[in-house]
Amino acid sequence: MSGFDKVVTSYAEALDGLEDNMTIIAGGFGLCGIPENLIKEIKRRGTKGLTIASNNAGTDGNGLGLLLEDRQIKKMISSYVGENALFEAQMMSGELEVELTPQGTLAEKMRAGGAGIPAFYTATGYGTPVGEGKEVREFNGRHYILEEALQGDFSIAKAWKADRCGNLMFRKTARNFNPMAITAGKISVVEVEEIVEIGELDPDEIHLPGIYVNRLIKGTFEKPIEQRTVRSA
């Protein structure tokens, strides 16, 4: 690595410094746009006691579901955790802590974490279990709760295309939580399908500037589909 060149050549190097009990912010929605190879590398490293903020927790055998197999996750911060039998079992037995967070609040907590905003008020969750114990303020006759930003020791994410200095383009709905997750990690690691030379991307078409990206790696992806739904011709 030199200058603005963020490219690393091995997944081991990509996650160098990841230790037990760290917090990771992860991109992806369901199994769409998940950093599948970085997750596999965390499994290979055997890092334990992790707190992971991610909208979902994968499925049995896919995505973050892989890290449940060896009980590597201590706590999940997610909006929806269905579709995963192992997750249910560990949650019900109390080995896995879960902080259910509304989807939009989760996205905004990551965005705020990356944007230097320590907390924000939102109407989402007021008067519900999510609002319990949180500061309430009234603005223009409406109640809002204070939600704190999220930051991670690492963030792991997936983009479609990058140049070597980490300018990123995402593809379709695989963008989802990825841009915010990347900004919220002290060390952000992004895997992509294609890396081009600096200057090859049109600056107007970059979705996330490389300033947020620390390490970049090119991977190959399985892209599993959770609900393959088709219409007939």
């Binding site: 269905g82 996205a107 007021y126 279990p129 709905t173 609900q227 007939s232």
Partner: protein, 218 residues
């Protein structure tokens, strides 16, 4: 007769207006997309980050990078746009979506809604439902009026943990269309062949019955 799933979806679609941006929840709300009138343009928002959702893909069109909020493969309609989840919920929270339709376990006559959690049973999470009910002004809740054993789901006070407080103004059940005003349910329409008495019997929260309650027309 109680409305079928398709009739519920059809009645929801009658609330669409030309030029509306609409977020449809998983289940019956999603079916409403099948009943958008041909002479009307409605753009569907999928909260994972797509505005302008099209129909399910043909087998050869399936793209793992293009899914809806229910994680189903979809396509994009003409004029679609793509964005991050933060942008998506900015649209929702900021009140830019014209109509939101979602399901529920219970609603009450204070406009409270419970839709994401049954204590003691499996907890799957609220997904985007809390943001949607807090952000939208125009919401229709679709649900069954009562449980199979005849217990009302339209209550004076929700018994389950809330998804949102005081945010619901319109409920469409398999038996009736009701508004919520000043702490009361107002019966607006009944399903074809369903009597006002039958609806009243299965509504546990305070119910106002106007002199004339028309049958729904399909």
């Amino acid at each position: 007769m109680a409305l079928t799933r398709d009739q519920l979806a059809q009645r929801v679609a009658q609330e669409f207006k030309d030029g509306y941006y609409v977020n449809l929840g998983i289940g019956i709300p999603t079916l409403a997309a099948n009943f958008i009138p041909d002479d009307m343009q409605v753009m569907l928002q999928s909260e994972n980050g797509l505005l302008g959702m099209g129909p399910f893909p043909l087998d050869e069109e399936v793209d793992a990078d293009l899914i809806n909020a229910g994680k189903q493969t979809v396509t994009m309609a003409e004029g679609a746009s793509l964005f991050s989840s933060a942008e998506s919920f900015a649209m929702i929270r900021g009140g830019h979506v014209d109509l939101t339709v979602l399901g529920a376990f219970e609603v009450d006559c204070q406009g409270n809604i419970a839709s994401y959690m049954i204590p003691g049973k499996l907890i799957k999470g609220m997904g985007g439902a809390m943001d949607l009910v807090a952000g939208a002004d125009n919401i229709i809740v679709t649900m069954t009026h009562a449980s199979k054993s005849g217990d009302s789901k339209l209550l004076s006070k929700c018994t389950l943990p809330l998804t949102g407080k005081g945010c619901i103004k319109r409920v469409l059940t398999d038996l009736a269309l009701l508004d919520i005003e000043d702490g009361k349910f107002i019966l607006r329409e009944r399903a074809p062949g369903v009597s006002v008495d039958e609806i009243a019997k299965l509504t546990s929260g305070e119910l106002v019955i106007p002199e004339h309650v028309p049958e729904m027309v399909f």
